[in-house]
Symmetry: none
Subunit: 192 residues, 4 copies
């Protein structure tokens, strides 16, 4: 699998910490995962983690920043586009892709919302979500249409998290979720 000779590990310890940490955080939750555990899996000492990251929180923050950059870029892009239906569809498409690419992180965020709220990145996540909704929704439309936009986003999440446990091919499921989500914003868009 991954090379495990001490020489081969040189120079990429930081990356390895991020990988293992995310894996464990997603699997067991943030608070239930101790730095001891992460260190053991990497066959280094706890102190080595502190050479690369200032705190436990720092580890998840760094992973977060790496893996959510696409979302930031998506938002930046979308803010410059006209608020057309096609733009909204593209937003959902790219959002779905970004989630698929960083799926363990998104799973982590979904399942550790209480933790996220106390983390310094929690605020960022929240703001980002609101901005995204803002980009999808139609101002002054009926309440149900606002809900449909939020629902579209949550459908993508559901597609990633929940549905994967049930249905068959992940990619196929993701596409189906994307279709349903697109349907929802389409309804909302056309109503107004």
């Amino acid at each position: 699998m991954s090379s495990s000779s001490p020489q081969a590990r040189r120079g990429n310890t930081r990356q390895r910490i991020q990988d293992i940490a995310l894996e464990l955080f997603a699997e067991q939750g943030y608070e239930k995962t101790s730095l001891r555990e992460i260190a053991e899996r990497l066959e280094v000492t706890k102190a080595a983690l502190y050479y690369h990251f200032k705190t436990k929180e720092d580890i998840i923050i760094s992973v977060f920043e790496d893996l959510t950059r696409p979302i930031d870029e998506l938002i930046e892009w979308a803010e410059q586009q006209p608020r057309t239906l096609e733009t909204k569809r593209e937003v959902l498409r790219r959002y779905s892709e970004a989630m698929a690419a960083g799926s363990p992180l998104y799973r982590f965020m979904q399942e550790n919302q209480a933790t996220m709220r106390e983390l310094s990145i929690g605020e960022t996540v929240k703001r980002r979500l609101f901005t995204l909704v803002e980009l999808l929704r139609t101002e002054d439309g009926p309440l149900t249409d606002q809900v449909r936009c939020v629902s579209a986003l949550f459908t993508l999440h559901a597609g990633m998290m929940f549905l994967q446990h049930v249905e068959g091919d992940p990619e196929e499921t993701r596409q189906a979720a994307l279709e349903v989500a697109t349907d929802l914003i389409t309804q909302a868009h056309q109503a107004s």
Copy 2:
């Protein structure tokens, strides 16, 4: 709100523990809430908690059992009904109501999924969710329709959790979410 004179508290300590515990668990998360904190808020000692509950987990379990009974009853009822659209609508309606009635618990479960998975009740929650989906969905329909059913459920959740932070009147929002969810299963139902 609740009576706070020492005499008035006599005999209902168990209930008070459950109330405060749920409040704190929902607010700060399960692991971040210590028994010390709960005890302090109740102005009793930690040891007193152990008179009423065997473990920390026991507290949340007991709350869970009290507040999710309506869901169990809903499932029992639905399983005896014909799989008509009207039945499905009724399921959503009652599910939405149950969530509104025990909202701190549902918020807790949503925001502490990682924790729930390790708790003994986690399995129950999961099974219940699957059963609910089973009752809503149409077998052998296209994948998108299956997704729509799951999405309907998640829309109700979104209506409770996320939307409350944004829109105005909670009850109005809940109704809107219910309407969107009903729409979704209606589409799914009619397609087949």
Copy 3:
């Protein structure tokens, strides 16, 4: 020496922690003394210390408060007396006695000044010392006389700390230091 059967220790653990802690702090310094060490000497666990005190700092603070009360009382008393030479002599006399009574603490404070400065009590100590000087000195006298008053106080400290290592009978040394200190303030008092 002290009773060491578990029964006999019941109920006075708090006191025992204070005693041993002060002893170790005075012997090895504050930072060099770990809670583990204190706990081991008491044959309890570290956690037991935390039942009785909120932090390590809390331990030394509580000892400090117990053992410096006489100084506070002395200051209160002195502030109500006329600023006569006799009053000043009495201040020195009682100060010397208070130090003798709580000598390990005073040794600790003298030898851990850098630490004291960071502790919350550091400020108190400093203020108290200034007040004491204020009570002894003669306003508007020549600078040398001000120095003599400070010097008198330091002579008492020297009598406690340094001289004990050298000369013979502690009590005799203390009396000698007191005499020299009294001489110093007498000179300062009469000059003006």
Copy 4:
């Protein structure tokens, strides 16, 4: 003050380490100052410190040796002089000057006595102090006169440390302290 361009720093790193270390040790205490902190202030790595000094203790020792040489020379000189009052006065004068010249170190030693005791130089300091007292005092005189000699030394210390926080011009204060100290040994000398 000190040149800070990288080129200018070449070759005097050792000196810079000593300077910053002493500054921090005096400011925050020995144990509270970490090598990381020193390295950061110098904008080098911790490992660089180990190129110049074998251990943390080594740093303070080297500073100590540089700055206390005058005292050693003073003692050597005094031991060859007749035990006259004039000699004693000269001892105090030069001692006071040496302290003024290396004041951060002397402040450090005063405020970190507990630490000093564990350091290898602690013994040296103590021995030196005893020798100094020996040179000032009059053998076989009454105990109070012995105390006066010790008190004279402590007065100089007080003049450096404590009084600086209060009175105005440092140099003036130092002179006043020297005068009081001289008075004390004069009394002691003449009594016999």
